[in-house]
């Protein structure tokens, strides 16, 4: 090898040479453009996602790694050496952590170890609000399946965006429609960050000023024993009724039991910190590695983004309307604003309820009341995920 040859070899590996791929004679029109220009377009999109994460603080803990993973996976590399390929850095992590389903479950453990089910135990009926909010999942599924031509497993994965629960979305999509993982993850986390924007207009539209002013009575104290028994009870119910939801709910309950039982604080601390952080880094990067042009720059992605916002809106509406229905039959009224917290997106949705409530009545602190539907929304989404995994597999 002399200098000229070496320079040529090096030049041929540069991104300048490969960022625009040569035309493929078998492709036409838009597909051809995508094939040729997809990589640098994806790099721009990932930079936009980074901006959303850093500047707009859209769930930055996930969106920054996802977007960076997307950047890395769209680097033009010689075939067989792509960072997201089977022997590449991100490809290996994806295979070990996402494809086999470990990472979302570990994150769910951490979520369990951070969640306080006390407000739900103190006011069990608010669980119904978390159930009604799952209407977002099935409404979006129905539309995706009947109107947008997705297959049933794809439609189920898209619908689950309405669960407003990142790890659940990633877990279900990996099992049912891995090809849509990139756009679904991006949609799920983006819309979770947009909860304070999406929800308030819907909440105000569906409630009267008087309803928004309803004050709720102080929650009762919840004893330690109840908090310890609760995760076990959920798991047993899940075992009896819906085993397919058990990996997700089992991980959640394990984390929560470790938190509440008070004798394994070392483990609970680790789940809430070192472990969840490490897994978040790798989950984000490797989910991002699925942001390839051929899978992301499609009309399907637009549909997914559209269906995702529909799912969030339906979920919000479902929770609020359920609260109003419950008020028809119950003497102790609940403020329908806490219904919107049933979408999960813990604890942002509960904060939105609180904020809108304070606007109507400055003495009306709904935060703790909204935590009940909020955490039951997590359980509800996991149950819905179990149903979809059982039926659409």
């Amino acid at each position: 090898m002399n200098i000229a040859e070496g320079l040529t070899a090096l030049w041929n590996t540069t991104g300048l040479m490969n960022i625009i791929l040569p035309a493929d004679p078998n492709l036409k029109g838009f597909e051809q453009i995508l094939h040729m220009h997809g990589q640098w377009m994806m790099i721009l999109i990932c930079l936009f996602l980074l901006w959303l994460g850093i500047k707009k603080q859209f769930e930055p803990l996930l969106l920054v790694p996802i977007a960076f993973g997307g950047l890395l996976s769209n680097i033009p590399m010689p075939p067989g050496e792509a960072i997201a390929g089977p022997t590449g850095f991100l490809g290996i992590i994806f295979e070990a952590g996402i494809h086999k389903g470990l990472f979302p479950l570990i994150i769910f453990m951490g979520v369990g170890a951070m969640t306080d089910f006390g407000p739900l135990i103190a006011n069990p009926k608010t669980a119904l609000l978390g159930g009604a909010a799952q209407f977002g999942i099935f409404g979006a599924l129905l539309m995706a399946y009947c109107m947008f031509g997705f297959t049933m497993p794809e439609a189920a994965s898209i619908g689950i965006i309405g669960g407003a629960d990142g790890p659940t979305s990633i877990y279900v999509t990996t099992k049912l429609a891995e090809n849509l993982l990139g756009p679904i993850a991006v949609a799920a986390y983006s819309y979770m960050a947009l909860v304070p924007v999406i929800q308030p207009p819907i909440m105000k539209l569906l409630t009267t000023e008087a309803e928004r002013k309803i004050q709720m009575t102080q929650l009762r104290d919840v004893s330690k024993r109840e908090k310890i028994v609760f995760p076990l009870m959920i798991l047993i119910l899940c075992v009896i009724l819906l085993p397919s939801a058990c990996p997700l709910l089992g991980a959640l309950c394990f984390g929560n039991l470790c938190k509440e039982c008070g004798v394994v604080e070392r483990l609970s601390d680790t789940m809430q910190n070192a472990l969840i952080n490490i897994v978040t880094i790798f989950l984000g990067l490797s989910v991002g590695s699925k942001l390839s042009a051929s899978q992301f720059l499609t009309v399907q992605t637009l549909f997914i983004l559209l269906l995702g916002i529909i799912a969030f809106s339906l979920a919000t509406a479902g929770g609020v309307i359920m609260a109003k229905i419950m008020n028809m039959f119950s003497k102790t009224k609940i403020n329908p604003l806490i219904g919107s917290a049933g979408v999960s997106a813990v604890p942002m949705a509960a904060r939105v309820s609180n904020k809108v409530g304070l606007e109507a009545n400055p003495q009306n602190f709904l935060l703790m009341h909204a935590m009940g539907p909020n955490v039951s929304g997590v359980i509800g989404s996991a149950v819905a995920a179990g149903v979809l995994l059982a039926l659409c597999h």
């Binding site: 009926k125 119904l128 099935f138 024993r225 119910l237 008070g262």
Partner: protein, 78 residues
């Protein structure tokens, strides 16, 4: 299209039905649990075991360290 709609609606009804069924049973179970625990709390007041619990939180591994530290202090105190 019609068949799609039938299937989609079927999934929707089954799904929402299961979610509500699960949560309703959960609500019933929570009420039952609260009742049982309330009785338990009366029979065996929580305070004493709790305090012990908090104390004993230090795990065996921490104990080991604690012993080592105790030893170190013991030495130094001499």
């Amino acid at each position: 299209m019609n068949e799609l709609l039938t299937q989609g609606l079927a999934i929707m009804f089954i799904g929402m039905g299961t979610v509500f069924a699960f949560l309703c049973i959960m609500i019933v179970a929570m009420h039952a649990m609260s009742g049982v625990v309330a009785k338990l709390n009366k029979l065996f007041p929580e305070v004493v075991p709790q305090a012990a619990g908090v104390k004993k939180v230090v795990s065996s591994a921490d104990d080991e360290v604690a012993v080592a530290i105790a030893a170190a202090i013991f030495k130094r105190g001499k």
